[in-house]
Symmetry: D2
């Protein structure tokens, strides 16, 4: 029997403030538009846009920003019953985006004591998790306690209830204390996940080195639980490795790039959606790449998430 | 011989993000405009707009927001040589303004670990202070260490060098730990200031009670250093008391109110400007009220600060 | 070829201040004697007393107490080259012992910001760990960062280098934030250890419940790495379970109890020593029980650790 | 009419652990004796021993050490009704004393998150303070919030109720963040005190310089409230200055020095006792010096506080 959810995402749901006047330094930007942001929120929104049944576990601020986030996510069809409202005046994380040029994008982050990092392990509901086939974990949720322990608890529930875990590395330097901490907690989660997705640089952070190879990464992780490992190399495309030794590759789609934000999240949303709808890995990689190409051509991350039709049109157009 | 500065303001210089779509809850606002904000920054900007020679002592973030603040203040003619750039990743404070109606305005504040509260006492330069006639202290700078100690240090330099101190109570509940702390530090500074300006409610916070009277407040403070005490009662107007027993009153000017933000800062800027330009107290009160009336009719606080001509036109129009 | 060490213990080495006047409340005790204390330090000292080659990884205070600890441990033959001297004014943990009666003992702990909890993962040396057959982890080292991460790092080195890990649960409520944290980190370490030793109550803490059974505990842990699980039931004796289904039991030895402190540490030292010297599990349990019986009859924990001869005499005397 | 108390002391009451085996480094000391310690507690005890009516305002730990402190102070006749029992697991401060030689004494301090620094301003009772003629403030209580604010509150009550304030500088580097903080808060309190007592070095800390002179110190402080300033120069004796320009000097008494701890506290207790019993300043200085000479010849600070008879005998013997 089908479960209630195709995917439950766990982690942060925040506010993006995107420069309306762009192709300039942010000092010269006066107007900003507000969107929902944060990697797992974007993946949840992207999945819902593609038609998946989606739940979300997280903590949001008890203010106008928190309510905006919950309203937006509910409007796209996400179940927000497990988006807990913080009661200790923690704020929503903010990301002011600066778009100097398509190649030069940066983010000014507000992540001090943000609500999402205060999700507690006792607030993760095992009965809720049992209603999904797939749990998506975002690496940033590991950066601080108690959110870190909430992830560890969710992973242990997932294992106990035979729920697959996808780990999107989503490494952001802010809020982490030391590279050693990153490496230690990323390794623990990656070893216990079924699917791991990240950029080459993110795997290097996890392995505590620079210049690592995909061979080393897959040698290491396939000794543990993972069955499918996706490693992204930016415009050079991405690779998927399976435990039985198969390797798949996908290029990237041509597009008019406005900014680079949101590429990874839209990739993950479409890739996981395709897999859970019975597509083969090769097709899933194309879905991921096409979805990313569409989002980087638009102003927002969350609102720009494509439909299945848009993705298939782009794939068809560039085959 | 005239000093280099008419006034040096000490305290926070932050970012206001004002709702572009207003007369609605902020959940429904999508676009925000960025302005410089924060009470002492607004007073400095207002003073400069009126033609005063202005300096500023504060700490700003080492990012796009910090640079925007410094650029804007330098552009209106403020000396920013003592606006120290934070080196520990503290951010600029943010104030998202919500304008539901002219009567219902609120602010969503980001004040956790903001740069301005990290100004240290050893960063306050006695030689710089000696170049002004008047030091303006903003109460919010007392909320946390080390900014609290920077204020205490500045006060001690001012006393040592016969510089007048104006204390604008500027009470904001965020970042203060307890009402007792508010009362203790507000009292210490008020007792050592020459001019104290605040609303009736703010004096009540200082005195640790509710329903206090102007009589009680002036009885208390005139035992200490203050010579001039301004107490504002909102639309009912404001009072000025002098140590020799004189009382002055001013009404408020009619205007089309857009929002209430910025009223107090524009009042203080114009009132202090008038005093330091030899106007009598009665005229100074009119300047304050007229300046406030102009700012509450406009969208921003800092950019809306009026010129002397605009103030005098309004006073003349409503005499 | 034999390795340099039989056992390396990782965790805290602290100061015990034992009441000289006892059988009374500590309020009435005026004189205290100073000993080295802390579970892993006691186990290291006990092991060295029995003749094992012992190393220690930990962080000690840069003061008279820290130097006393290192001197004492070096004097009993422990390699102290990896006892790192703290450089940030963290103090040695203290335990003032109160002995009201043999049945009523309590400890007044000083554990705020103690040096041992500041051991960092980057201070754990893989080359040093490779020189041992067995790594002993103490649960209290998991209570806070960065010591928590140092343990996780050590475990990962141990696994990589085929070093056996013994996990002595050593649960102390101080310094832990919540029961959920205890359960989460105890579970992670227990699942990755080869040998787990603790009291019934400590396993309940790990499993996040009360009234758990040995059957439930062994069912859970034998799904993971552990091969040998020791569960102590106080005066009712202790049980050892092996992955292949065998169960061993040991009673406790008669003795004149002075206080209960140090029982668990002396038990673990003698049990692990016996195992690593080729004794069978049944004999190892006797060693543990006899060693505990000897220590509870004496004033200190560390100085009272018995020799092999003393243990064998007691076993022989009560067979 | 006489008030209920001659003196109320405010600040820390802690535990001293004095080396029983001395004239050696503490690493070689095994036995320690427990006494009540902390400057204001010692002054309170010394005053009570001399026959004064004494009250105490402070916060003590909710454990055996806290109860020992309260019992001991009550036993010497101090009113302990305002010694508040901490409810948040803060511990009593500890001072392990090392006596290498009479000239080489040091202290190993445990002052992290100690109960006395958590006294809150709202816990200072104005009605209680009104019952004394003299309030003694100890500088260490200024080192952290909320104890710092409790002192500021007590000072404001004292001023309001015409209670004299004696400020014993009692500077201890631990727990202070920066020299600027020391200087700022010491100055505020000294300027508002009636009597200030300290060593030459402590006044230098207050003035934020080194090599200051008594002339500079008295020039500065006599511009403010103080009427009597005592400056101690160790074995060279001490000076008392009055606002009307008088200067008094006292030498030190010959004694067999065991250790230097407790000298300042016993000095302050006897000096203030003499003053409040109508002795002239010259006699009060002798009382202070004689009391100090007696305490440094004995093992403890608090228990060694002399009686009036002992002090007068020593003065007579060496006249």
């Amino acid at each position: 029997m089908a479960k209630r959810f195709d995917i439950i995402a766990l982690g942060r749901a925040c506010i993006d403030l995107n420069a309306v006047e762009y192709n300039r330094p942010m000092e010269e930007t006066i107007t900003f538009k507000k969107y929902v942001g944060g990697s797992p929120a974007n993946i949840a929104i992207g999945s819902a846009r593609l038609g998946a049944k989606v739940g979300f576990i997280g903590k949001i601020s008890n203010d106008q920003h928190g309510r905006f986030i919950e309203n937006f996510m509910a409007d796209v069809g996400i179940d927000t019953s497990q988006m807990i409202v913080d009661q200790h005046e923690h704020k929503s994380g903010l990301a002011f985006t600066e778009i100097k040029s398509p190649e030069e994008c940066s983010i000014l982050m507000y992540r001090d004591q943000v609500a999402d990092l205060y999700l507690k392990p006792e607030e993760v509901d095992e009965q809720y998790l049992k209603q999904t086939d797939l749990l998506l974990i975002s690496g940033t949720a590991l950066a601080q306690s108690p959110s870190r322990e909430a992830v560890l608890k969710a992973i242990s529930y997932a294992r106990k209830n035979q729920i697959k875990v996808a780990f999107e590395l989503d490494y952001r330097p802010y809020t982490w204390q030391t590279p050693e901490e990153v490496s230690i907690y990323y390794s623990i989660i990656a070893e216990h996940a079924d699917i791991v997705i990240g950029t080459r640089d993110e795997y290097d952070e996890m392995e505590g080195k620079s210049g690592g190879t995909n061979q080393e990464t897959t040698n290491y992780l396939f000794q543990h639980r993972p069955e499918l490992i996706v490693i992204k190399h930016g415009v050079k495309g991405s690779y998927a490795y399976t435990k039985d030794g198969a390797i798949y590759q996908a290029g990237s789609y041509k597009t008019k790039v406005l900014k680079t934000f949101g590429a990874g999240d839209s990739y993950a949303a479409a890739f996981l959606y395709a897999l859970s709808n019975g597509k083969d890995i090769e097709t899933a990689l194309k879905y991921g790449s096409a979805s990313a190409a569409i989002v980087v051509s638009k102003h927002s991350s969350s609102e720009a998430m494509p439909t299945v039709q848009e993705i298939e049109q782009l794939i068809a157009a560039q085959s």
